[in-house]
């Protein structure tokens, strides 16, 4: 007997990598451009990547609220810690009470789950979902749009009040990604992604994601600005009615305690 999984997952990638972005200048791309050449489009995507890439430490509080079409819902609050230089991250649940103290610790290719009520660690499999969602650990990888996709300018258009560049991305041959086709609506003025649509190879639309709020921060470790999404809205296009809201607060880019990415530290949070 087995279990059907719906594609209602929350993928962490959009907010994790965005949240750990490192800002770089974007003067190379004109904010008044009406259309972008192939080269300019590639540069724009590389810029988006660059702004969202971080090699320093990162910590934030994340609130995730998932609502299902059948009326069920789930929400939790967690702390996210990340250190790209060592390929480590940690997710520590703080709310609700039933999840508090539970945590995921990723050390290189190992993913461990801590159950504080049992005081036990459990090695998670390669494909294990994260935080009771369908997210997998590879969803936590940083943004590599320019490396993984070929970008093509579609149009300059309006998204509400905003003038945006609409760019279509197709996965490069031989590269495995969650969504082979992407469309991005990038704010011409701020160069922040405002909307992202993910599609299957057949062209079937899977998810629409909105980024209505970004925060510009200075990372002292990188000595550059970082663009962090403060709010993300994910709408499932397959299971219509399923939606996820992600809110990031209290983002810190200060170097973390070297011992934070250890089992002992995570255990100590719930002792």
């Amino acid at each position: 007997m087995f279990l059907r999984l719906k594609c209602t997952c929350l993928t962490f990638a959009p907010f994790i990598w965005a949240a750990s972005a490192v800002g770089v200048g974007f003067g190379a791309v004109s904010s008044e451009a009406l259309a972008l050449s192939e080269k300019e489009t590639g540069e724009l995507i590389a810029l988006v990547d660059g702004r969202q890439r971080n090699t320093g430490d990162y910590g934030s509080t994340v609130f995730i609220d998932q609502k299902e079409k059948d009326g069920t819902s789930k929400a939790f609050e967690a702390r996210v810690y990340r250190r790209d230089s060592d390929d480590k991250w940690m997710l520590l649940f703080t709310k609700p009470k039933s999840e508090a103290g539970k945590g995921y610790l990723r050390l290189e290719k190992n993913l461990f789950l801590y159950e504080p009520s049992l005081g036990k660690w459990e090695r998670q499999t390669e494909r294990a979902s994260i935080a009771g969602t369908n997210s997998r650990r590879d969803d936590f990888d940083e943004s590599r749009l320019a490396d993984e996709y070929s970008a093509k300018f579609v149009a300059d258009e309006a998204l509400g009040k905003f003038k945006v560049h609409r760019v279509k991305l197709s996965v490069k041959p031989g590269i495995e990604v969650g969504s082979p086709l992407l469309e991005l609506w990038i704010d011409q003025s701020s160069k922040n992604i405002l909307k992202r649509q993910e599609s299957a190879l057949s062209g079937k639309l899977l998810r629409t994601i909105y980024y209505p709020a970004w925060e510009k921060m200075f990372s002292k470790s990188k000595k550059a600005e970082v663009y962090v999404p403060k709010e993300i809205r994910v709408f499932d296009e397959v299971e219509k009615g399923n939606a996820t809201t992600v809110v990031l607060r209290d983002v810190k880019l200060d170097p973390l305690d070297p011992n934070i990415f250890t089992k002992a530290w995570l255990e100590s949070q719930s002792r």
Partner: protein, 716 residues
């Protein structure tokens, strides 16, 4: 002549003819006897199996009737459906109104809410376990404890080293495999653990521990997860109404307590050490089913697989226990002289491989030795009563919900302990079931709303998202700036500045009980109904259907047989096959009877013509042929019935052994003690004789048409 005299004459002539045509009489009589025998034995056995199976199903999980939502996409299949997969059997958001209507019926004794689902039980590997123990040992600062646990790790590394060497034979030239093997050998080198043996702080030991946990432990591989079916129910109502439920170890799950009762069958077949399981399997097939190892493909496969399980034993031992076991094996004659290396692990592995090599001659002795000497040294079962396990289940929305649950005890269904079908489910409390199903209770809902209110996120639908987020009502800017942080590298005190970096004090909550009122109403997927009078089942089912409809409640009321799934249909299928076989035999008998009369008519034309010539009426001839058939059928059918009764009575004393798990379930125990169904034993031969006689009317009438002149013509 008086009619009595005619009847007497008719009877005498009929008997004379039956004797005269003995072969025909014997053939017809034997056919009727066989048909009667088959009908009585078959229908009596079927009736007994049905009764036993009914008891198994009704008294373990199903009850007499079940209710299921009309919105269900799949039929309820309490003992397994047609397909693997998670069936959508619907649900009742609140079963209380249904219960209230149903309990008003005078024939309803009890209403037990329930639901079936499946959970995943995650498992780590042995190396993770010993490393966790080592980490815990270091945290205590106890030198002796650390030394013991380091020794356990080194012992496991020895086994891992041998496994990697085996793997190398398959994947020679793999650079990654070579590097992994080198890592393990480095850890096995003398002095590799010296730093740990000086018992540093956990922080100092962290790099070394992380190396072991991230580079070495994954090499031990991943175990396949175990899928555990479970029934969520109101334990108080369940235990009061299902007579086959029996606690075999630990304690029961009290009303109002959270937890799980583990099925003994599941523990034996899924959670037991694999070497022990293979021993049990061979024992069952060889000693109970009488199938020898030699010559039986399945037994030979199992026996060949047994020595390979030595690692499931070695993996659970520390050095001291391993040495003790090695010593015992040596005394028993297994010296491990053919060990591939000189280490303790290699020697014990060779000893165990030799010990686990079984055949028909040594199986019983080895199995007994295993349980006496090996089992006490290892963790025979992965889960024991009193422990807490984490169940993970996919909610209806597709998300994983995990719940730590105490294993209060082990249970079985009395009489059907060996049945896979009856042992396919564990039992948990209804409140935990609802949580694993994805339903939130009032407190959880309130907490969730408080979290939402604190974050202050407004509701936005997919249809209006663009306008709401970027349209005229939006601020027109999506970007804000936060104050730049210090350019100076952070000191430890800086690290503690922000809230997100402060140490948390989160207290894990592991609820162990709930308010019993919570299971008096609320979500259930289905519910069992126990009746006072089983004989009124169908009438009650119809009346309950009507009563629910009248109350405006949509629900299907189904009987135990339908609710049990394919298993419940077994009796119907068997009955169909049996009746088909009886009908075939009967039709063949009737055709033979008819043919024999018609052929007999031609052979007996002179006789019939003579009878007619000396004054016998056509009716006399007609009745004579009918009497001959009737007497033959009646005697044959009753002889068959007598044989069937004798067989059933003798079987009722010795019993029919259940040869497989499924048959055990159908018999509701290891043996079926059938009883004679007297209405069938009397009715079947009478009915067969009457039918045979009636179907011979055509042929008899044909005989009665023979004219006296035909006899004379024949003579000429």
């Amino acid at each position: 002549m008086k009619s009595a005299e005619v009847a007497s004459l008719l009877f005498q002539v009929a008997l004379r003819n039956l004797w005269l045509y003995k072969v025909k009489t014997l053939v017809i009589g034997a056919l009727l006897a066989a048909g009667s025998f088959l009908a009585i034995v078959g229908l009596s056995l079927l009736s007994n199996v049905e009764k036993s199976m009914r008891e198994s199903i009704i008294e373990s999980v199903a009850g007499h009737l079940q209710i299921q939502s009309m919105k269900a996409k799949d039929s309820l299949a309490l003992f397994g459906g047609e397909f693997f997969g998670r069936a959508d059997v619907g649900s009742f958001a609140d079963f209380a109104p249904y219960r209230d209507v149903i309990l008003k019926h005078p024939n309803v004794d009890a209403f037990v809410p329930m639901g079936l689902d499946i959970a995943i039980l995650g498992r780590g590997n042995e190396m993770d376990d010993v490393l966790d123990a080592l980490r815990a040992g270091i945290a205590t600062g106890d030198k002796r404890l650390v030394r013991d646990r380091v020794d356990a790790v080194v012992f496991q590394l020895g086994q891992l080293s041998l496994e990697l060497a085996e793997r190398r034979k398959i994947s020679a030239g793999d650079a990654d495999a070579a590097a992994q093997e080198a890592d393990v050998e480095r850890m096995l080198a003398p002095g590799a653990f010296d730093d740990l043996l000086s018992v540093p702080s956990e922080r100092e030991a962290e790099p070394f521990l992380q190396f072991l946990e991230t580079k070495i432990a994954p090499l031990s591989g991943e175990k396949m997860p175990i899928y555990l079916g479970y029934l969520g129910t109101d334990m108080g109502l369940y235990t009061a109404n299902f007579k086959k439920y029996r606690i075999v170890e630990g304690e029961g799950l009290p009303q109002g307590e959270r937890g799980i009762m583990l099925s003994q069958k599941i523990r034996e077949t899924q959670l037991k050490n694999l070497a022990a399981r293979l021993f049990d399997k061979l024992d069952k097939r060889v000693n109970k089913s009488g199938v020898r190892i030699a010559g039986d493909a399945e037994n030979e496969r199992t026996a060949a697989d047994l020595p390979r399980q030595y690692s499931t034993i070695v993996g659970q031992l520390d050095r001291a226990r391993a040495a003790a076991l090695s010593e015992k094996l040596s005394v028993a004659g297994f010296r491990g002289e053919d060990a591939p290396g000189s280490g303790d692990v290699a020697k014990l592995g060779a000893q165990l491989k030799a010990f686990l090599t079984v055949n028909d001659e040594n199986l019983n002795e080895r199995r007994t030795w295993f349980y006496a000497n090996v089992a006490p040294l290892i963790r025979l079962y992965q889960i024991n009563a009193g422990e807490t396990v984490t169940l993970r289940s996919y909610t209806r929305s597709g998300y994983i919900k995990s719940l730590p649950m105490k294993v209060h005890g082990i249970f079985s269904f009395e009489g059907i302990e060996d049945s896979d079908l009856a042992g396919a489910t564990n039992i948990i409390d209804l409140v935990s079931f609802r949580e694993l199903y994805g339903q939130m209770n009032a407190a959880s809902r309130a907490e969730l709303e408080a979290m939402r209110a604190q974050v202050g996120v407004k509701d936005v639908s997919a249809e209006t998202a663009e306008d709401a987020l970027f349209g005229s009502g939006s601020s027109g800017s999506v970007e804000s700036s936060s104050a730049a942080t210090s350019e100076v590298p952070a000191s430890p005190s800086d690290v503690e500045k922000g809230d997100v970096l402060k140490t948390l004090v989160v207290k894990p909550v592991l609820p162990t009980s709930f308010n019993p009122e919570e299971v008096r109403s609320g979500l259930a997927l289905n519910a069992a109904i126990k009746l006072k009078d089983f004989s009124k089942l169908e009438k009650t089912r119809e009346e309950l259907t009507l009563a629910l409809k009248s109350a405006g409640l949509e629900a299907k009321v189904i009987d135990w047989q339908t609710a049990s799934g394919l298993v419940g249909q077994f009796v119907n299928i068997t009955r169909g096959v049996l009746i088909f076989a009886i009908v075939i035999i009967f039709v063949v008998a009737l055709v033979i009877i008819n043919n024999s009369i018609i052929v007999g008519t031609f052979n007996r034309i002179q006789e019939i013509g003579t009878m007619r010539a000396i004054g016998a009426q056509r009716s006399f001839v007609l009745n004579l042929f009918l009497a001959e058939t009737g007497i033959t059928s009646l005697i044959g059918a009753f002889l068959g019935a007598a044989g069937a009764v004798v067989l059933l009575v003798s079987l009722s004393r010795v019993g029919i052994p259940a040869t497989s798990d499924i048959v055990t379930f159908l018999f509701s125990g290891p043996r079926l003690f059938p009883s004679v169904r007297w209405p069938v034993a009397v009715g079947a031969p009478v009915a067969m004789a009457v039918m045979a006689t009636l179907t011979s009317v055509y042929a008899a009438r044909h005989a009665a048409k023979v004219q006296p002149v035909e006899a004379m013509q024949e003579k000429e």
